[in-house]
């Protein structure tokens, strides 16, 4: 059984998705989705445990030997990303049955759960596969599924946002597939590990360099690296809050994973950073993302849009960490993958709680919400503190490791910029806190708290934010393990 864990990781949710269409019943599909997602979460926990104790797990699908058949290859990094994706899915799903989203789609809820499961499958597949073309296929599955999810938003603009997401996502996927094709032409293999082994022999010719550029830009679109982030704010703003919570916490993380995988494992540190000057442009874009996106976030009227821009800024931190090209920097990046999933998930779920009571997300319309929906706003504030990086929250751990890594890499300026950009986060979080706690509620303000079914998942994420702000051995331990392997890996 444990031998087939890598296959189960993807297959469980993949099979459950069409099963939803057959079952149809609103509650039945929910339970089906919930059980399969939790099963997937259990599988990824087992996988992570297996990887941390006995090293890389390699699985040949259908028994076809590695370079020719499709290989699932799980190391610490994959296992960690799998944990993030399935974990967030497992926490967000219980939120859905009472959320506004399901009440709106009504009897067609089964389609939502089908798309949700497909999206989870796609993201898990990208994270687990060791085959370049397989990676592209899963990427497409996830982006088509997320496109459906986004289009379910209550506002009509959700449709254009979904359309835009589709187009941009397709461009990204196309770039990736072009890159993969060029590599295939140069090396004659699609297995990521095999590519890594053969590349030095092929020589770093123009084809390989072009493939490299296409892959970076493709991944950059997927992870919404500034200035390729335009699709993200719109998508997250108009998507249903539940979907925003899931996508913000997982989709871009998988994008970052793809970037790290190609830079460090497939092409190797020597090619990616020593032969080609990749670190500096990435660092530059990351810093720009941190500042420009945070500044834009400050000026947003809508909380959702503000959080979306904040995501772009946070992605900047992740890319910044890896652009230091040190074990410390990479550790900080991977830790932040995890911690940002926790905080953005919590924040968007809190928004989902608000959505249950009122349709507007304008900051002005949140006036006095601290009194009307105390638990929701307390959760939002706690998530905001984590976003800023206040000690005893997960966000602090990320910033701490990132700053230490910048200092260790002899980049005091970068460390200073991290601190300054955190101050921008203080401003935009404060705007919401100020409105919610220091203003009188307006006439149309809701009078009740969100139902418990919505509050519990939100507070679970908040509790995790605090827990992983204090007890850091899991994220930091796994990240360090993964970062060491990545820096030592490749030619």
């Amino acid at each position: 059984m444990t031998a087939h864990l890598p296959a189960l990781q993807v297959v469980i949710t993949l099979l459950a998705a069409p099963a939803c269409i057959l079952v149809r019943g609103r509650d039945l599909t929910f339970w089906l989705a919930l059980l399969t997602t939790w099963a997937a979460f259990a599988v990824s926990c087992l996988l992570l445990d297996q990887v941390m104790t006995s090293g890389i797990v390699s699985y040949e699908l259908g028994g076809w030997a590695a370079p020719f058949g499709i290989e699932y290859r799980v190391d610490a990094l994959n296992a960690f990303v799998l944990l993030i994706v399935s974990g967030i899915g497992a926490i967000v799903l219980p939120f859905t049955p009472r959320s506004l989203l399901i009440e709106m789609v009504g009897e067609k809820a089964y389609l939502f759960y089908c798309a949700f499961l497909l999206c989870v499958t796609g993201l898990l597949g990208v994270a687990i596969t060791g085959d370049a073309f397989n990676l592209f296929v899963f990427l497409e599955i996830s982006s088509l599924a997320s496109c459906i999810l986004i289009s379910l938003g209550p506002h009509r603009r959700a449709l254009t946002a979904a359309f835009q997401y589709l187009i941009v996502g397709t461009i990204g996927a196309t770039f990736i597939v072009i890159g993969i094709g060029l590599i295939y032409g140069a090396t004659g293999t699609l297995n990521l590990n095999d590519i890594a082994e053969r590349l030095p022999a092929t020589g770093y010719n123009r084809t390989v360099i072009a493939a490299f550029a296409f892959l970076i830009v493709g991944a950059a679109i997927k992870l919404a690296l500034f200035p390729l982030h335009f699709w993200l704010p719109k998508a997250y703003t108009y998507a249903p809050s539940t979907v925003s919570a899931f996508l913000a916490a997982t989709a871009t993380k998988v994008g970052v994973y793809v970037l790290i995988r190609f830079l460090f494992t497939v092409f190797g540190v020597k090619f990616s950073f020593d032969i080609l000057p990749t670190a500096l442009p990435l660092m530059l874009l990351a810093v720009l993302a941190m500042f420009v996106a945070s500044t834009v976030a400050i000026f947003q009227d809508s909380v959702k849009r503000m959080l979306a821009y904040s995501s772009v800024a946070q992605i900047g931190y992740m890319v910044l960490g890896l652009s230091l090209v040190t074990v410390d920097g990479l550790t900080a990046s991977i830790v932040h993958l995890f911690n940002h999933a926790l905080m953005k998930g919590a924040l968007f779920l809190a928004i989902g709680c608000i959505a249950y009571r009122q349709s507007s997300f304008r900051i002005d319309d949140l006036a006095g919400m601290g009194r009307r929906m105390p638990w929701t706003m307390a959760a939002f504030t706690a998530g905001g503190l984590s976003l800023i990086g206040i000690p005893l929250t997960a966000g602090f751990i990320s910033k701490w490791y990132l700053i230490l890594a910048a200092l260790a890499a002899d980049e005091p300026l970068i460390a200073a910029l991290i601190v300054i950009s955190s101050l921008l986060a203080v401003i935009y979080v404060w705007r919401v806190v100020e409105a919610a706690y220091f203003r009188e509620p307006g006439p149309g303000a809701p009078s009740g708290e969100a139902p418990l079914a919505l509050l519990i998942p939100t507070w679970v994420l908040i509790a995790l934010n605090v827990y992983f702000g204090i007890e850091t051995s899991l994220p930091v331990g796994v990240s360090e393990h993964a970062a060491r392997a990545l820096m030592g890996a490749g030619p």
């Binding site: 941009v168 296409f214 719109k234």
Partner: protein
């Protein structure tokens, strides 16, 4: 159960119960809890406790050795005495603040790492300020605010130093440090502020006299002594401290002599006493450290006693201005006697506690060959006799009769003063009691003819000088006045200077701000336009722009890669 709590934490936790306790129980509680703490402390074995690692640093919340134990004992005694003295007070805030403050002080001397020390350090600052604010009124409020700011700055400096030190050495352990780099200087400065080094001392005579009657007793005991402990732990044998300490003993004397507010006189006197301890720490030999620590022990008791007697006067007579008082020995005989015991102790009269401690420091200075320091200390000893030994009791209880007739101090105050007075005499008579708990082994006999005669000569001539000065009315008369101390520089001088420079700076700043605002507005405006908020731009445009950016980025990467 009590023994397993870190020392000090018991008091802090127990203080939380005070507001909910009924009146009678509350009175017992405030005395019993510190007593229980003392009992638990006596049972405590030396060693380190409750150590844990967090964020890669080794925390040692409790480190027990002889140096911390002696401070722990005296802090508990001071807490008990102070609590008895405050029994009649009905203001719960003061009781809570007093007990938490004592607990923080005790916790600080048992802190085995700099971060724990910092926590207690700030806790002392925050809890003690309520003892000043409880006095009520604008003066007390402002004075407390200044006090709080200074104390918090000290804590911040300590934390900064600790972080730098941890960065260099990888350890936050609080042990002996070598003064050299920025980290240790910051830490020394933090200690120096709390210890009231010259030019950093103004908070002390500023704030203590503004505290409540009972609050001043607590204040006199903990903050500065904890700082002495920190110096003795961190910087023993730092030569600079000898001269800093010598200056500290000498210069407050002049202020003490001319000051009219008798509690402020005591505050200056306390500052001078701290100088003795700092000199001892600076010399750093086992004998000198014994002197410093022993002096801290006895001085906590007699300073508390003196503050208590002056507090009793303030409580009954309603004023503490030397010019308004006099002749109170008729009304308050017991208080008079206790005050004289305290005065004799601080004057280092043989058979009183000051004698057995001060001689240690003086002898250590003499043996170490620090002539200047020895002379200054001797001069300061004479000065102490003047302003605390004679002036305080004389102006308050004798002098010309002010005609004030008031009641004797309340019973609980008398008991507290009596306890402290008893300890002052007992320690002076039976010196081994103190010597046996000093951090280093003591091979010293205070009662040799040369010590006793030398001290008696000093006392006799100082008394003679005082008598002569009073007789011929040369002694600075007790008049209402405001004396300028160095804090004029902080409170008037620097603000005045700023008043000149400020307008220029302000206009420059305004110019900078408006330029910045213009730049920001332009930048943000552009960002908002680009990011496409609600429908200002056609909906399809961002899609095109994204594609454009994708192309630009790809082109850029390819360009730099192929070049």
């Amino acid at each position: 159960m009590i023994a397993s709590l870190p020392p000090g934490l018991l008091l802090i936790v127990a203080a939380l119960a005070i507001p909910v306790l009924p009146d009678a129980l509350r009175r017992a509680w405030t005395v019993v809890v510190p007593a229980a703490g003392l009992w638990a402390l006596i049972a405590l074995e030396p060693g380190t406790y409750l150590g844990f690692a967090w964020f890669g640093a080794e925390f040692v919340p409790v480190r027990v050795d002889k140096l911390s134990l002696i401070f722990g004992y005296v802090f508990h005694i001071a807490a008990i005495v102070g609590a008895i003295y405050a029994l009649h007070v009905r203001d719960t805030v003061q009781h809570v603040a007093g007990m938490m403050y004592a607990g923080s002080g005790i916790g600080a001397v048992f802190a085995g790492d700099l971060v724990t020390l910092f926590v207690y350090w700030e806790a002392m600052a925050i809890t003690s300020v309520f003892l000043i604010w409880a006095r009520g009124g604008e003066t007390a409020y402002r004075s407390g605010m200044r006090y709080l700011i200074v104390q918090i700055v000290s804590g911040v400096l300590l934390l900064s130093g600790a972080i730098l030190l941890a960065e260099q050495t990888g350890s936050i352990a609080f042990d002996r440090m070598a003064l050299g780099d920025l980290a240790t200087w910051l830490i020394l400065l933090a200690f120096g502020i709390k210890c009231a080094f010259p030019f950093l001392h103004n908070w002390l005579p500023d704030a203590y006299p503004e505290a409540t009657v009972t609050g001043a007793v607590f204040l006199s005991a903990f903050t500065t002594k904890a700082a002495v402990y920190a110096l003795a732990r961190g910087f023993p044998g730092t030569e600079m401290l000898i001269y800093v300490g010598a200056a500290m003993t000498a210069f407050p004397i002049f202020y003490a002599v001319i000051e009219n507010d008798l509690r402020r006189t005591l505050a200056y006197s306390l500052n001078s006493q701290l100088g003795f301890m700092v000199v001892g720490v600076g010399i750093g030999t086992p004998m000198a450290l014994n002197g410093a620590v022993g002096h801290a022990f006895v001085s906590t008791l007699y300073m508390a006693l003196l503050f208590m007697s002056m507090g009793a006067v303030l409580y009954r007579a309603g004023t503490i201005e030397g010019s308004e008082l006099g002749g109170l020995h008729k009304s308050m005989p017991f208080t008079t006697v206790f005050c004289i015991v305290g005065a004799a102790s601080i004057s280092a009269f043989p058979l009183f506690s000051g004698f057995i401690a001060k001689s240690l420091t003086l002898s250590a200075a003499a043996y170490g060959g620090y002539a200047v320091a020895w002379l200054t200390l001797t001069f300061a000893s004479a000065g102490v006799i003047h302003h605390s030994g004679m002036k305080i009791p004389y102006f308050a209880f004798f002098s010309r009769d002010s005609g004030k007739r008031c009641k004797e101090a309340p019973l609980n105050m008398l008991i507290a003063m009596g306890t402290a007075a008893f300890l002052c005499i007992a320690l002076g008579v039976w010196s081994p009691a103190l010597y046996s708990i000093l951090p280093h082994d003591v091979d010293y006999e205070p009662y040799t003819p040369s010590h006793v005669i030398g001290q008696l000569q000093l006392l006799a001539f100082a008394a003679l000088a005082f008598a002569v000065l009073i007789r011929y009315r040369i002694y600075p008369a007790a008049i209402r006045s405001t004396n300028l101390d160095f804090d004029w520089t902080y409170r008037r001088g620097i603000p005045a200077l700023i008043g000149v420079v400020w307008p220029a700076l302000w206009s420059a700043w305004q110019g900078f701000l408006s330029a910045l605002a213009g730049g920001l507005r332009a930048g943000i405006g552009a960002a908002i336009r680009l990011a496409g908020p609600e429908a200002t731009l056609a909906r399809t445009w961002p899609l095109g722009s994204t594609t454009l950016w994708v192309a630009v980025l790809l082109g850029g990467f390819l360009l730099i890669y192929y070049l």
